[in-house]
């Protein structure tokens, strides 16, 4: 077998971290911290990664080396959850317990891959699906996705996006999967706890990580973590968990911080369609919904979901 047989890239060994030096991530990219924390939370378990077409596969760098310290399949754009289904099926029938992790952007999750994602969730495949949501098609230079918030300027919404961001968490909850949660890169303990919980849960698990993209967000690299903190504080990115699609737990209350503080350090929030008071109204609406769900259907500790 010759080296280029399949475009298999080597160079890593199992003593390496999940994200190795030499990766191509931009400064301030949320993936860099997210992958390191994922690695830490997996606590020595080597995942099988499935990465569809997105910045996350560029991260690996070019043949014949790779920046991923785990077996990794680069799937076609819409196929992460299907390829992961095949891998997980075969690992389990061979009594191999390695976690199978989809590491995907918002384009591959909210848009082109949503049917594949929905089907894998409906079948409750044994997959940990993590969406690093930078709210943009970053790899192609910053086009709108259905994860892009209202009012945001992208190359394909040059006057500001006129539609609301899709609520992917509600979509996943509607599949009644065992576990869905949001992840903040500014809240390490909460992040690690949720990934650990997800890793020891069987069935389909969905984690949504708001992932700063200085290139697309027109923000400063050093502000990335603080931007996520602002997003959690003002409530535009609530931290919560949904168990079996029906029981809710809010992990952190918003603290009254203004959404303006979050927006003003990102030049993407400059669209003609941006309406600050409408943004606040939307945030309040979502919180009313989440609070009502968490009050009516509170999460309970049970053997399936050790907290």
């Amino acid at each position: 077998m010759t080296t280029t047989l399949t475009g298999c890239s080597f160079g890593a060994d199992l003593n390496d971290s999940l994200l190795r030096p030499g990766n191509t991530n931009c400064a301030g990219c949320g993936m860099s911290l997210g992958l390191r924390w994922l690695d830490e939370a997996l606590d020595g378990k080597v995942p099988f990664l499935v990465v569809p077409a997105c910045c996350g596969i560029v991260t690996a760098g070019a043949f014949p080396t790779t920046a991923y310290g785990a077996p990794t399949a680069a799937s076609t754009f819409a196929s992460a959850a299907a390829v992961a289904t095949g891998i997980a099926s075969v690992l389990r029938m061979n009594a191999e317990s390695s976690p199978v992790v989809c590491w995907t952007g918002d384009g591959g999750t909210y848009d082109i891959g949503v049917a594949t994602l929905s089907a894998a969730a409906e079948r409750n495949e044994d997959i940990l699906y993590i969406c690093y949501d930078n709210e943009i098609y970053g790899n192609t230079g910053g086009q709108r996705s259905s994860a892009t918030p209202e009012g945001v300027v992208t190359t394909t919404s040059p006057r500001g996006k006129t539609e609301r961001k899709k609520d992917i968490m509600a979509i996943m909850a509607a599949h009644r999967i065992p576990y869905a949660a949001t992840l903040s890169l500014a809240h390490r303990e909460d992040f690690l706890r949720k990934v650990k919980l997800a890793a020891c849960t069987r069935g389909f698990r969905f984690l949504l990580m708001l992932s700063p993209c200085p290139t697309g967000w027109k923000s400063e690299a050093e502000d990335s973590v603080e931007l996520i903190r602002d997003a959690v504080r003002c409530g535009i990115f609530p931290l919560y968990e949904v168990f079996d699609g029906s029981r809710y737990r809010i992990n952190m209350e918003r603290d009254g911080a203004s959404v303006n503080a979050y927006c003003e350090r990102q030049r993407r929030y400059r669209g003609e369609t941006l309406d600050a008071s409408l943004m606040q109204t939307r945030i309040d609406e979502q919180w009313r919904y989440l609070k009502a769900m968490a009050a009516a259907f509170p999460a309970i500790d049970d053997p399936h979901h050790p907290s």
């Binding site: 047989l5 890593a12 499935v50 760098g61 099926s89 075969v90 049917a115």
Partner: protein
């Protein structure tokens, strides 16, 4: 071996299931199942089969059916699926991915006309549209040919010298939904014939490789050339697989080409699938009348067996290629291949006939008419449309 009267779809499901089951002592088998007429009974059969170590995933689309095959194969399993027509078209991106990953997946393509306008009957345009996807392609003429070819396909695809996926085509309805007597091999024989599936580049927990990442132009060129070199090894590996098949099953399956009376034929017909069966009958009748007519049944389309085709047609003065497919702006797709093969033989007149498109009946009378017409033709013309009788 049990002889049974079964449909083509049943025969295909049976052969795939036995091949998958034969990998139970290795990493098992898996596939994706999504229905489309006329292949649906195959995936129904596979969903109902009780594998010792296997799983057939009921997916939401053909694109994901191939996605599941890719993941399963990347994890080391024997992987398979089946589709037709627009299902194959929808799957296309992952069909290419499977080829470029060098994964020995086997897929049954039950040929059906691509729509719109919608038409469920046979036409080879669906699988032929995937001819450049780095897959082996076989076209089968009967239920037995189908069963044998599926087993050959696994064997050749998984051979370490090949490592490419393989597609096995049959005619929608004419083969898929009709019944014929077939030797259905028992599990023990299939176990003997198919060694454990070994995919050297499969993902392993103890080996952090990345498959399918970025490559530069030079490496991409190497990657493609290696695929071409593997394709060029197929005829020899296929012949070995046929010899081994005969040793295990006691029958000799058809090879890349099956020739009938071509040694001294002045007019040779090139055809595939059920049209080849009909043409064989015409050839036999003409021979009885003393006419020097022969048949080349072309089973292997990718890689195209050029050397064998040149040899098979070496005595012919005129060649009729019967194409149940059409590449708009060019003509029949088998014809293009035959003409390319015979580029060093300008003395042979090669004429393309577009027959039975959209599932029209290709009768012995129609083929006889073609033979008669070609016998008086002195120069090759553009592809000739032979309309189905109303």
């Amino acid at each position: 071996m049990a002889r049974a009267l079964v449909t083509g779809n049943y025969a295909a499901g049976y052969a795939i299931a036995r091949a998958g089951e034969a990998n139970r002592n290795a990493r098992g088998c898996a596939g994706g199942a999504y229905p489309i007429t006329p292949q649906t009974e195959i995936i129904e059969f596979l969903r109902g089969f009780e594998f010792t170590k296997g799983r057939v995933v009921p997916v939401e689309s053909e694109h994901s059916a191939m996605g599941v095959c890719i993941g399963s194969s990347l994890a080391g399993a024997r992987a398979f699926t089946a589709s037709s027509s627009n299902g194959l078209a929808y799957m296309t991106e992952n069909v290419f991915a499977a080829g470029y990953y060098r994964l020995p997946i086997v897929m049954i393509a039950v040929n059906r006309t691509l729509g719109p306008p919608w038409n469920i009957w046979v036409d080879q345009g669906d699988s032929l549209a995937l001819r450049d996807a780095a897959w082996l392609q076989f076209y089968t003429e009967s239920h037995q040919d189908l069963v044998d070819t599926i087993l050959l396909a696994f064997r050749v695809a998984e051979d370490e010298r090949i490592l490419l996926p393989a597609m096995v085509a049959m005619d929608g309805f004419l083969t898929s939904h009709t019944q014929m007597g077939v030797e259905l091999p028992e599990q023990e024989l299939v176990d003997r014939y198919l060694p454990s599936c070994k995919i050297p580049h499969r993902l392993r927990a103890d080996r952090p490789t990345t498959i399918g990442g970025l490559t530069w132009p030079r490496e991409t060129e190497h990657h493609r050339r290696e695929i071409q070199e593997a394709m060029e090894r197929v005829p020899a590996v296929l012949n070995e697989a046929i010899d081994e098949f005969e040793a295990v099953f006691g029958r000799r399956p058809h090879g890349a080409l099956s020739c009938e009376h071509t040694d001294d034929a002045e007019i040779a017909i090139v055809a595939c699938n059920t049209i080849a069966r009909t043409a064989r009958q015409v050839v036999r009748e003409r021979r009885e009348r003393g006419e020097r007519v022969g048949l080349v049944k072309c089973k292997l389309f990718r890689p195209f067996p050029r050397a064998e085709m040149i040899k098979a047609l070496s005595s012919a003065r005129r060649v009729a290629v019967l194409d149940r497919n059409h590449s708009p702006g060019s003509g029949g797709i088998f014809w293009q291949e035959v003409v390319t093969s015979l580029r060093g033989r300008p003395d042979i007149l090669v004429q393309d006939y577009l027959v039975g498109l959209g599932g029209g009946d290709v009768t012995p009378e129609l083929i006889g008419e073609i033979v008669d017409e070609l016998g008086t033709q002195t120069t090759a013309q553009e592809p000739i449309w032979k309309e189905t009788a109303a």
